[in-house]
Protein backbone atom coordinates (compact mmCIF):
# COMPACT_ATOMS: atom_id res chain seq x y z
CA UNK A 1 0.00 0.00 0.00
CA UNK A 2 1.56 3.25 -1.07
CA UNK A 3 1.10 6.41 0.92
CA UNK A 4 -0.14 9.51 -0.84
CA UNK A 5 2.10 12.52 -1.01
CA UNK A 6 1.05 14.30 2.17
CA UNK A 7 1.16 11.32 4.47
CA UNK A 8 4.51 10.30 2.94
CA UNK A 9 5.81 13.70 3.96
CA UNK A 10 4.70 13.12 7.55
CA UNK A 11 6.21 9.65 7.61
CA UNK A 12 9.48 10.99 6.21
CA UNK A 13 9.54 13.79 8.75
CA UNK A 14 9.12 11.45 11.70
CA UNK A 15 11.58 8.94 10.28
CA UNK A 16 14.27 11.56 9.71
CA UNK A 17 13.64 13.14 13.10
CA UNK A 18 14.27 9.81 14.79
CA UNK A 19 17.34 9.09 12.69
CA UNK A 20 19.03 12.40 13.23
CA UNK A 21 18.76 12.24 17.01
CA UNK A 22 20.43 8.88 17.40
CA UNK A 23 23.66 8.71 15.47
CA UNK A 24 25.96 5.82 16.35
CA UNK A 25 29.61 6.33 15.47
CA UNK A 26 31.78 3.29 14.75
CA UNK A 27 34.68 2.87 17.19
CA UNK A 28 37.53 2.99 14.68
CA UNK A 29 40.37 5.48 14.97
CA UNK A 30 41.93 5.39 11.54
CA UNK A 31 44.45 8.19 11.84
CA UNK A 32 45.89 10.92 13.97
CA UNK A 33 42.64 12.80 14.31
CA UNK A 34 41.35 10.16 16.69
CA UNK A 35 42.94 11.98 19.60
CA UNK A 36 40.16 14.59 19.71
CA UNK A 37 37.38 12.01 19.80
CA UNK A 38 37.71 11.12 23.51
CA UNK A 39 37.63 14.83 24.28
CA UNK A 40 34.44 15.28 22.25
CA UNK A 41 32.66 12.40 23.91
CA UNK A 42 33.42 13.26 27.54
CA UNK A 43 32.26 15.79 30.03
CA UNK A 44 33.29 19.17 28.68
CA UNK A 45 32.16 18.97 25.05
CA UNK A 46 29.59 16.24 25.70
CA UNK A 47 28.46 14.90 22.34
CA UNK A 48 25.96 12.54 23.89
CA UNK A 49 23.44 15.32 24.43
CA UNK A 50 23.00 15.25 20.62
CA UNK A 51 22.41 11.52 20.65
CA UNK A 52 25.90 10.63 19.41
CA UNK A 53 27.50 7.61 21.02
CA UNK A 54 29.91 4.89 20.10
CA UNK A 55 29.08 1.54 18.56
CA UNK A 56 31.30 -1.50 18.66
CA UNK A 57 30.70 -3.29 15.36
CA UNK A 58 29.94 -2.10 11.82
CA UNK A 59 26.55 -3.74 11.75
CA UNK A 60 25.41 -1.52 14.62
CA UNK A 61 26.85 1.77 13.43
CA UNK A 62 25.46 4.61 11.31
CA UNK A 63 28.45 6.84 10.76
CA UNK A 64 31.98 5.96 9.71
CA UNK A 65 34.27 8.72 10.92
CA UNK A 66 37.46 8.73 8.88
CA UNK A 67 39.69 10.65 11.29
CA UNK A 68 42.58 11.85 9.19
CA UNK A 69 44.70 10.25 6.52
CA UNK A 70 44.19 6.76 5.12
CA UNK A 71 47.02 4.51 4.10
CA UNK A 72 46.37 1.98 1.37
CA UNK A 73 46.44 -0.89 3.88
CA UNK A 74 43.75 0.75 5.99
CA UNK A 75 41.66 1.69 2.94
CA UNK A 76 41.13 -1.98 2.14
CA UNK A 77 39.78 -2.61 5.65
CA UNK A 78 37.70 0.56 5.62
CA UNK A 79 36.00 -0.48 2.38
CA UNK A 80 35.17 -3.83 3.87
CA UNK A 81 33.80 -2.21 7.02
CA UNK A 82 31.78 0.30 5.00
CA UNK A 83 30.17 -2.42 2.94
CA UNK A 84 29.12 -4.25 6.07
CA UNK A 85 27.19 -1.31 7.45
CA UNK A 86 23.45 -1.25 6.89
CA UNK A 87 21.72 1.58 5.06
CA UNK A 88 21.21 4.45 5.76
CA UNK A 89 24.89 5.04 6.36
CA UNK A 90 27.01 8.18 6.31
CA UNK A 91 30.71 8.94 5.97
CA UNK A 92 32.35 11.99 7.51
CA UNK A 93 35.78 13.12 6.44
CA UNK A 94 37.70 14.56 9.33
CA UNK A 95 40.67 16.82 8.86
CA UNK A 96 42.34 18.24 5.81
CA UNK A 97 43.96 14.97 4.79
CA UNK A 98 40.66 13.64 3.49
CA UNK A 99 40.11 16.75 1.37
CA UNK A 100 43.32 17.03 -0.59
CA UNK A 101 45.98 14.94 1.09
CA UNK A 102 47.01 17.50 3.69
CA UNK A 103 50.63 17.51 4.73
CA UNK A 104 51.25 13.99 3.46
CA UNK A 105 50.54 14.92 -0.12
CA UNK A 106 53.80 13.48 -1.40
CA UNK A 107 53.82 10.25 0.58
CA UNK A 108 53.74 7.00 -1.33
CA UNK A 109 51.45 5.33 1.15
CA UNK A 110 48.60 7.77 1.86
CA UNK A 111 45.69 8.58 -0.41
CA UNK A 112 45.11 12.13 -1.47
CA UNK A 113 41.35 12.53 -1.54
CA UNK A 114 38.70 10.37 -0.01
CA UNK A 115 35.98 11.25 -2.48
CA UNK A 116 37.24 8.92 -5.19
CA UNK A 117 36.94 5.77 -3.12
CA UNK A 118 33.93 6.31 -0.83
CA UNK A 119 31.03 8.76 -1.02
CA UNK A 120 31.42 11.46 1.64
CA UNK A 121 28.62 13.46 3.23
CA UNK A 122 30.34 16.10 5.35
CA UNK A 123 33.94 17.30 5.48
CA UNK A 124 35.31 18.88 8.65
CA UNK A 125 38.46 20.84 8.04
CA UNK A 126 41.27 21.56 10.46
CA UNK A 127 44.42 19.83 11.57
CA UNK A 128 43.02 18.71 13.80
CA UNK A 129 39.52 20.03 14.22
CA UNK A 130 38.57 21.25 17.65
CA UNK A 131 35.75 19.45 19.46
CA UNK A 132 33.47 22.40 18.72
CA UNK A 133 34.19 21.95 15.01
CA UNK A 134 33.40 18.24 15.26
CA UNK A 135 30.05 18.98 16.86
CA UNK A 136 29.24 21.58 14.22
CA UNK A 137 29.99 18.92 11.60
CA UNK A 138 27.53 16.58 13.24
CA UNK A 139 24.92 19.32 13.36
CA UNK A 140 25.35 19.84 9.61
CA UNK A 141 24.88 16.11 9.12
CA UNK A 142 21.68 16.32 11.13
CA UNK A 143 20.41 19.08 8.84
CA UNK A 144 21.16 16.98 5.78
CA UNK A 145 19.32 14.01 7.26
CA UNK A 146 16.28 16.13 8.05
CA UNK A 147 16.16 17.43 4.50
CA UNK A 148 16.44 13.92 3.11
CA UNK A 149 19.70 14.60 1.23
CA UNK A 150 21.95 12.10 3.00
CA UNK A 151 21.42 9.16 0.67
CA UNK A 152 25.01 8.22 -0.10
CA UNK A 153 24.50 4.56 0.71
CA UNK A 154 22.20 4.36 -2.30
CA UNK A 155 24.66 6.36 -4.40
CA UNK A 156 27.43 3.88 -3.59
CA UNK A 157 25.25 0.96 -4.55
CA UNK A 158 24.23 2.51 -7.86
CA UNK A 159 27.68 3.73 -8.89
CA UNK A 160 29.52 0.67 -7.69
CA UNK A 161 31.48 0.25 -10.92
CA UNK A 162 32.94 3.75 -10.73
CA UNK A 163 34.11 3.33 -7.15
CA UNK A 164 35.45 -0.15 -7.78
CA UNK A 165 37.68 0.95 -10.66
CA UNK A 166 39.20 3.65 -8.49
CA UNK A 167 39.71 1.29 -5.58
CA UNK A 168 41.27 -1.47 -7.66
CA UNK A 169 43.80 0.97 -9.07
CA UNK A 170 45.55 1.26 -5.74
CA UNK A 171 44.63 -1.96 -3.98
CA UNK A 172 46.43 -4.59 -5.96
CA UNK A 173 45.65 -7.83 -4.18
CA UNK A 174 41.85 -7.77 -4.43
CA UNK A 175 40.33 -10.63 -2.47
CA UNK A 176 37.16 -9.15 -1.01
CA UNK A 177 33.56 -10.36 -0.91
CA UNK A 178 31.09 -9.08 -3.49
CA UNK A 179 28.75 -6.30 -2.51
CA UNK A 180 25.35 -7.80 -3.19
CA UNK A 181 23.08 -6.88 -0.31
Amino acid sequence: MENDKNSQKIVDYIQNFARKHSIFVLAYGTGCGAIEIPATMTSRYDAERFGIRGAATPRQADVLLITGYLSTKTLKRVIRVYEQMQEPKYVMGFGSCTINGGMYYDSYNTINGLDQYLPVDVYINGCMPRPEAVISGFVKLQELIQQGKAENGKKYRENLEHYRTNQKKIIKNWRMPDYNW
Partner: protein, 368 residues
Protein backbone atom coordinates in the same frame (compact mmCIF):
# COMPACT_ATOMS: atom_id res chain seq x y z
CA UNK B 1 45.97 -34.83 26.08
CA UNK B 2 44.83 -31.62 24.50
CA UNK B 3 41.14 -31.64 23.77
CA UNK B 4 40.64 -28.26 22.18
CA UNK B 5 42.07 -27.48 18.77
CA UNK B 6 43.90 -24.30 17.89
CA UNK B 7 42.03 -21.43 16.31
CA UNK B 8 43.38 -18.22 14.84
CA UNK B 9 41.77 -14.97 15.93
CA UNK B 10 42.43 -11.58 14.47
CA UNK B 11 42.14 -8.82 17.05
CA UNK B 12 41.92 -6.56 14.11
CA UNK B 13 42.20 -2.93 13.24
CA UNK B 14 38.58 -2.20 14.02
CA UNK B 15 38.13 -3.20 17.64
CA UNK B 16 36.92 -1.16 20.59
CA UNK B 17 39.55 -2.59 22.91
CA UNK B 18 42.72 -2.13 20.94
CA UNK B 19 44.95 0.90 21.46
CA UNK B 20 45.06 2.49 18.04
CA UNK B 21 45.04 1.03 14.55
CA UNK B 22 47.02 -2.21 14.65
CA UNK B 23 46.33 -5.93 14.57
CA UNK B 24 47.33 -8.71 16.93
CA UNK B 25 47.02 -12.18 15.46
CA UNK B 26 46.38 -14.72 18.19
CA UNK B 27 46.49 -18.50 18.15
CA UNK B 28 44.23 -19.66 20.93
CA UNK B 29 43.26 -22.94 22.50
CA UNK B 30 39.98 -22.40 24.26
CA UNK B 31 40.53 -19.17 26.11
CA UNK B 32 44.31 -19.36 26.51
CA UNK B 33 46.67 -17.74 24.08
CA UNK B 34 49.33 -19.98 22.61
CA UNK B 35 51.11 -17.61 20.20
CA UNK B 36 50.80 -13.94 19.33
CA UNK B 37 52.07 -11.89 16.40
CA UNK B 38 51.84 -8.14 15.93
CA UNK B 39 50.94 -6.75 12.53
CA UNK B 40 51.51 -3.08 12.00
CA UNK B 41 51.56 -0.90 8.94
CA UNK B 42 48.10 0.59 8.97
CA UNK B 43 49.42 4.04 9.86
CA UNK B 44 52.59 4.22 7.79
CA UNK B 45 53.13 7.66 6.34
CA UNK B 46 56.79 7.38 5.32
CA UNK B 47 57.88 10.18 7.64
CA UNK B 48 61.55 9.60 7.23
CA UNK B 49 61.29 9.90 3.49
CA UNK B 50 59.17 13.04 3.74
CA UNK B 51 61.56 14.74 6.16
CA UNK B 52 64.33 14.40 3.59
CA UNK B 53 62.29 16.64 1.31
CA UNK B 54 61.72 19.42 3.83
CA UNK B 55 64.27 21.76 5.31
CA UNK B 56 65.35 21.79 8.94
CA UNK B 57 62.55 24.02 10.22
CA UNK B 58 59.77 22.65 8.02
CA UNK B 59 60.43 19.22 9.48
CA UNK B 60 58.85 20.38 12.74
CA UNK B 61 55.41 20.26 11.23
CA UNK B 62 55.88 16.56 10.56
CA UNK B 63 57.57 15.66 13.82
CA UNK B 64 54.71 16.35 16.16
CA UNK B 65 52.59 13.75 14.48
CA UNK B 66 54.90 10.85 15.17
CA UNK B 67 53.29 9.77 18.41
CA UNK B 68 49.87 11.25 18.65
CA UNK B 69 49.11 11.27 22.41
CA UNK B 70 52.43 12.92 23.28
CA UNK B 71 53.81 15.21 20.61
CA UNK B 72 56.22 17.34 22.65
CA UNK B 73 59.06 14.91 23.45
CA UNK B 74 59.66 14.39 19.73
CA UNK B 75 60.14 18.11 19.14
CA UNK B 76 62.50 18.41 22.07
CA UNK B 77 64.67 15.47 21.03
CA UNK B 78 65.01 16.67 17.46
CA UNK B 79 65.84 20.18 18.65
CA UNK B 80 68.53 18.81 20.97
CA UNK B 81 70.07 16.69 18.21
CA UNK B 82 70.19 19.66 15.83
CA UNK B 83 71.67 21.89 18.54
CA UNK B 84 74.39 19.33 19.09
CA UNK B 85 75.26 19.30 15.39
CA UNK B 86 75.15 23.09 15.12
CA UNK B 87 76.84 23.76 18.49
CA UNK B 88 74.09 26.11 19.54
CA UNK B 89 73.54 27.21 23.15
CA UNK B 90 70.09 27.50 24.65
CA UNK B 91 69.39 30.33 27.12
CA UNK B 92 68.45 29.32 30.64
CA UNK B 93 64.94 30.75 30.64
CA UNK B 94 64.16 28.70 27.56
CA UNK B 95 65.39 25.57 29.29
CA UNK B 96 63.02 26.12 32.21
CA UNK B 97 60.12 26.74 29.83
CA UNK B 98 60.97 23.53 27.98
CA UNK B 99 60.93 21.56 31.23
CA UNK B 100 57.51 22.95 32.15
CA UNK B 101 56.12 22.08 28.70
CA UNK B 102 57.48 18.53 28.90
CA UNK B 103 56.03 17.90 32.33
CA UNK B 104 52.62 19.29 31.29
CA UNK B 105 52.71 16.97 28.28
CA UNK B 106 53.52 14.07 30.59
CA UNK B 107 50.56 14.87 32.80
CA UNK B 108 48.05 15.18 29.98
CA UNK B 109 49.19 11.90 28.50
CA UNK B 110 48.76 10.17 31.85
CA UNK B 111 45.22 11.49 32.08
CA UNK B 112 44.49 9.80 28.76
CA UNK B 113 46.20 6.65 30.03
CA UNK B 114 43.81 6.56 33.02
CA UNK B 115 40.89 6.45 30.61
CA UNK B 116 42.37 3.61 28.57
CA UNK B 117 43.57 1.46 31.43
CA UNK B 118 40.48 1.74 33.57
CA UNK B 119 38.20 1.54 30.55
CA UNK B 120 39.61 -1.80 29.48
CA UNK B 121 38.82 -3.15 32.95
CA UNK B 122 35.27 -1.87 32.76
CA UNK B 123 35.58 1.21 34.99
CA UNK B 124 34.21 3.79 32.60
CA UNK B 125 33.61 6.61 35.10
CA UNK B 126 37.29 7.32 35.50
CA UNK B 127 37.69 8.02 31.81
CA UNK B 128 34.98 10.64 31.84
CA UNK B 129 36.56 12.46 34.80
CA UNK B 130 40.19 12.36 33.76
CA UNK B 131 39.68 13.24 30.09
CA UNK B 132 37.37 16.04 31.17
CA UNK B 133 40.08 17.43 33.47
CA UNK B 134 42.72 16.98 30.80
CA UNK B 135 41.01 19.81 28.95
CA UNK B 136 42.27 22.25 31.60
CA UNK B 137 45.83 21.29 30.72
CA UNK B 138 45.09 21.66 27.03
CA UNK B 139 43.75 25.15 27.80
CA UNK B 140 47.13 26.01 29.27
CA UNK B 141 48.80 24.82 26.09
CA UNK B 142 46.42 26.84 24.01
CA UNK B 143 47.30 30.03 25.88
CA UNK B 144 50.99 29.38 25.45
CA UNK B 145 51.34 28.00 21.95
CA UNK B 146 48.07 28.49 20.10
CA UNK B 147 47.08 24.88 19.62
CA UNK B 148 45.59 22.19 21.79
CA UNK B 149 47.34 19.08 20.59
CA UNK B 150 50.12 19.93 18.14
CA UNK B 151 52.24 22.80 19.35
CA UNK B 152 55.43 23.16 17.25
CA UNK B 153 56.72 25.38 20.02
CA UNK B 154 60.20 24.05 20.82
CA UNK B 155 62.73 25.08 18.18
CA UNK B 156 66.48 24.54 17.99
CA UNK B 157 67.83 27.48 19.95
CA UNK B 158 65.04 27.89 22.48
CA UNK B 159 61.30 28.26 22.29
CA UNK B 160 59.24 30.17 19.80
CA UNK B 161 57.73 32.91 21.94
CA UNK B 162 57.81 34.03 25.51
CA UNK B 163 55.19 33.04 28.07
CA UNK B 164 52.19 35.40 28.19
CA UNK B 165 51.24 37.44 31.24
CA UNK B 166 49.34 35.65 33.94
CA UNK B 167 50.22 32.21 32.61
CA UNK B 168 52.32 31.24 35.59
CA UNK B 169 49.49 31.88 38.05
CA UNK B 170 47.12 29.92 35.87
CA UNK B 171 49.50 26.96 35.87
CA UNK B 172 49.77 27.00 39.64
CA UNK B 173 46.01 27.14 40.06
CA UNK B 174 45.54 24.22 37.66
CA UNK B 175 48.14 22.19 39.55
CA UNK B 176 46.27 22.74 42.81
CA UNK B 177 43.02 21.65 41.22
CA UNK B 178 44.45 18.51 39.67
CA UNK B 179 46.20 17.53 42.87
CA UNK B 180 42.85 17.45 44.62
CA UNK B 181 41.26 15.42 41.82
CA UNK B 182 44.05 12.84 41.84
CA UNK B 183 42.75 11.61 45.17
CA UNK B 184 39.39 10.77 43.55
CA UNK B 185 40.94 8.98 40.57
CA UNK B 186 43.21 6.87 42.71
CA UNK B 187 40.39 5.92 45.01
CA UNK B 188 38.29 4.59 42.12
CA UNK B 189 41.10 2.71 40.48
CA UNK B 190 43.49 1.52 43.16
CA UNK B 191 41.13 0.80 46.04
CA UNK B 192 38.91 -1.23 43.74
CA UNK B 193 38.88 -5.00 44.22
CA UNK B 194 38.01 -5.60 40.56
CA UNK B 195 41.08 -3.76 39.34
CA UNK B 196 43.34 -5.33 41.95
CA UNK B 197 42.33 -8.86 41.15
CA UNK B 198 42.64 -8.29 37.41
CA UNK B 199 45.96 -6.50 37.55
CA UNK B 200 48.02 -8.38 40.12
CA UNK B 201 50.02 -11.24 38.69
CA UNK B 202 49.05 -10.60 35.06
CA UNK B 203 51.45 -9.70 32.24
CA UNK B 204 54.68 -10.21 34.18
CA UNK B 205 58.00 -9.00 32.73
CA UNK B 206 60.88 -10.85 34.45
CA UNK B 207 63.41 -8.57 36.12
CA UNK B 208 66.57 -10.26 34.89
CA UNK B 209 65.58 -10.14 31.23
CA UNK B 210 63.94 -6.71 31.14
CA UNK B 211 66.88 -4.61 29.93
CA UNK B 212 67.93 -7.26 27.41
CA UNK B 213 64.48 -7.28 25.85
CA UNK B 214 64.68 -3.53 25.41
CA UNK B 215 62.07 -2.51 27.98
CA UNK B 216 62.26 1.19 28.88
CA UNK B 217 60.25 3.72 30.84
CA UNK B 218 57.46 2.93 33.31
CA UNK B 219 57.39 -0.80 32.49
CA UNK B 220 61.09 -1.00 33.38
CA UNK B 221 60.57 0.91 36.61
CA UNK B 222 57.72 -1.47 37.38
CA UNK B 223 60.13 -4.39 37.55
CA UNK B 224 62.28 -2.79 40.21
CA UNK B 225 65.12 -1.35 38.09
CA UNK B 226 65.69 2.37 38.58
CA UNK B 227 66.45 3.79 35.19
CA UNK B 228 65.29 7.13 33.82
CA UNK B 229 66.91 9.34 31.18
CA UNK B 230 66.34 12.36 33.39
CA UNK B 231 68.82 11.00 35.95
CA UNK B 232 71.04 8.86 33.70
CA UNK B 233 71.90 11.63 31.26
CA UNK B 234 70.38 14.85 32.62
CA UNK B 235 69.33 17.31 29.96
CA UNK B 236 67.97 20.86 30.16
CA UNK B 237 67.79 21.81 33.85
CA UNK B 238 66.75 18.49 35.38
CA UNK B 239 69.98 18.34 37.39
CA UNK B 240 68.95 21.48 39.27
CA UNK B 241 65.49 20.23 40.19
CA UNK B 242 64.65 17.97 43.09
CA UNK B 243 62.54 14.95 42.17
CA UNK B 244 62.36 11.21 42.74
CA UNK B 245 62.00 8.36 40.32
CA UNK B 246 59.50 5.83 41.73
CA UNK B 247 60.14 2.11 41.32
CA UNK B 248 58.03 -0.84 42.40
CA UNK B 249 58.73 -4.55 42.42
CA UNK B 250 56.65 -7.17 40.69
CA UNK B 251 56.72 -6.53 36.98
CA UNK B 252 52.98 -6.98 36.56
CA UNK B 253 50.28 -4.53 35.51
CA UNK B 254 49.70 -3.46 39.14
CA UNK B 255 53.30 -2.32 39.59
CA UNK B 256 53.27 -0.36 36.33
CA UNK B 257 50.06 1.40 37.32
CA UNK B 258 51.57 2.36 40.68
CA UNK B 259 54.64 3.80 38.93
CA UNK B 260 52.48 6.05 36.78
CA UNK B 261 50.38 7.09 39.75
CA UNK B 262 53.46 8.33 41.60
CA UNK B 263 54.96 9.98 38.53
CA UNK B 264 52.07 12.40 38.16
CA UNK B 265 52.72 13.67 41.68
CA UNK B 266 56.41 14.11 40.87
CA UNK B 267 55.50 16.06 37.72
CA UNK B 268 53.38 18.47 39.74
CA UNK B 269 56.27 19.06 42.11
CA UNK B 270 58.72 19.63 39.23
CA UNK B 271 56.44 22.21 37.62
CA UNK B 272 56.10 24.12 40.88
CA UNK B 273 59.86 24.21 41.40
CA UNK B 274 60.53 25.26 37.82
CA UNK B 275 58.07 28.17 38.02
CA UNK B 276 59.74 29.25 41.24
CA UNK B 277 63.28 29.13 39.89
CA UNK B 278 62.73 30.51 36.40
CA UNK B 279 65.04 33.49 35.67
CA UNK B 280 64.40 36.42 33.39
CA UNK B 281 66.25 36.68 30.14
CA UNK B 282 66.19 35.63 26.52
CA UNK B 283 63.95 32.89 25.31
CA UNK B 284 65.41 32.22 21.83
CA UNK B 285 68.91 32.06 20.42
CA UNK B 286 67.93 33.41 17.04
CA UNK B 287 68.58 31.38 13.91
CA UNK B 288 69.51 33.56 10.91
CA UNK B 289 66.88 33.17 8.17
CA UNK B 290 65.32 29.85 9.15
CA UNK B 291 64.34 28.95 5.61
CA UNK B 292 67.93 28.89 4.42
CA UNK B 293 69.73 27.70 7.53
CA UNK B 294 72.41 25.08 6.94
CA UNK B 295 73.75 22.78 9.62
CA UNK B 296 77.37 21.52 9.56
CA UNK B 297 77.92 17.90 8.51
CA UNK B 298 77.96 15.19 11.15
CA UNK B 299 75.90 12.63 13.01
CA UNK B 300 74.22 13.01 16.39
CA UNK B 301 72.15 10.88 18.74
CA UNK B 302 69.91 12.56 21.30
CA UNK B 303 67.51 10.96 23.72
CA UNK B 304 64.94 12.17 26.22
CA UNK B 305 62.43 10.64 28.55
CA UNK B 306 59.01 10.68 27.01
CA UNK B 307 55.85 9.40 28.62
CA UNK B 308 56.33 5.84 27.45
CA UNK B 309 60.06 5.47 27.83
CA UNK B 310 63.16 6.61 26.05
CA UNK B 311 62.86 8.39 22.73
CA UNK B 312 65.92 8.67 20.55
CA UNK B 313 66.69 10.53 17.34
CA UNK B 314 69.63 9.74 15.06
CA UNK B 315 70.15 12.79 12.86
CA UNK B 316 72.63 12.85 9.95
CA UNK B 317 73.52 16.05 8.15
CA UNK B 318 75.65 16.56 5.06
CA UNK B 319 76.01 20.30 5.24
CA UNK B 320 72.95 21.38 3.22
CA UNK B 321 69.69 22.96 4.30
CA UNK B 322 67.78 19.68 4.38
CA UNK B 323 68.32 16.75 6.76
CA UNK B 324 70.03 13.81 5.11
CA UNK B 325 68.62 11.13 7.37
CA UNK B 326 66.45 11.24 10.47
CA UNK B 327 65.78 7.94 12.18
CA UNK B 328 63.46 7.81 15.18
CA UNK B 329 63.29 5.24 17.91
CA UNK B 330 60.17 5.28 20.02
CA UNK B 331 59.61 3.27 23.13
CA UNK B 332 56.74 1.39 21.56
CA UNK B 333 59.02 -0.14 18.91
CA UNK B 334 60.25 -2.84 21.28
CA UNK B 335 57.26 -2.88 23.61
CA UNK B 336 54.70 -3.39 20.90
CA UNK B 337 56.40 -6.08 18.87
CA UNK B 338 58.99 -8.07 20.84
CA UNK B 339 57.82 -7.74 24.44
CA UNK B 340 54.15 -8.21 23.61
CA UNK B 341 54.84 -11.39 21.67
CA UNK B 342 56.82 -12.74 24.60
CA UNK B 343 54.43 -12.07 27.47
CA UNK B 344 51.08 -12.82 25.84
CA UNK B 345 51.29 -16.66 25.69
CA UNK B 346 49.47 -18.07 28.71
CA UNK B 347 47.09 -15.15 29.23
CA UNK B 348 43.38 -14.96 28.52
CA UNK B 349 41.92 -13.24 25.50
CA UNK B 350 40.20 -10.68 27.72
CA UNK B 351 43.53 -9.51 29.10
CA UNK B 352 45.12 -8.58 25.78
CA UNK B 353 43.71 -5.07 25.78
CA UNK B 354 44.58 -4.64 29.44
CA UNK B 355 48.22 -5.61 28.86
CA UNK B 356 48.56 -3.43 25.79
CA UNK B 357 47.33 -0.39 27.69
CA UNK B 358 49.75 -0.96 30.53
CA UNK B 359 52.76 -1.38 28.24
CA UNK B 360 51.87 1.80 26.41
CA UNK B 361 51.70 0.45 22.87
CA UNK B 362 51.15 3.27 20.42
CA UNK B 363 51.12 2.12 16.75
CA UNK B 364 52.02 5.42 15.05
CA UNK B 365 55.34 5.29 16.87
CA UNK B 366 56.11 1.78 15.66
CA UNK B 367 55.69 2.38 11.98
CA UNK B 368 56.05 6.15 11.72
Amino acid sequence: MIREKETTLYLGPQHPGITGNMMVKLKVQGDTIVKAATHVGYLHRAFEKLIERRNWIQAFTLLCRFCVPEPDPMELTYARAVEELDNREVPERAQYIRVIVMELARMQSFMLWYAGQAGSAGLYTLGQWSVGDRNYLLDLFEDLTGGRIYHMYIWPGGVRRDIPEGWKDKVLRTMDYIEKRLFDYNQIMFDNTIFQKRAQGVGIIPKDKAIEWGVVGPPLRGTGIKSDVRIDEPYEVYDKLNFEVPTFEGGDIWARALVRKEEIKQSISIIRQAIDQMPEGEYYNKVPNPMKWTVPAGQAWAKTESVRGEVGFYVVSNGTNKPYRVHVKGAAYTHGVTVLEKILPGQNIADVSFIMNSLGVCPPEIER
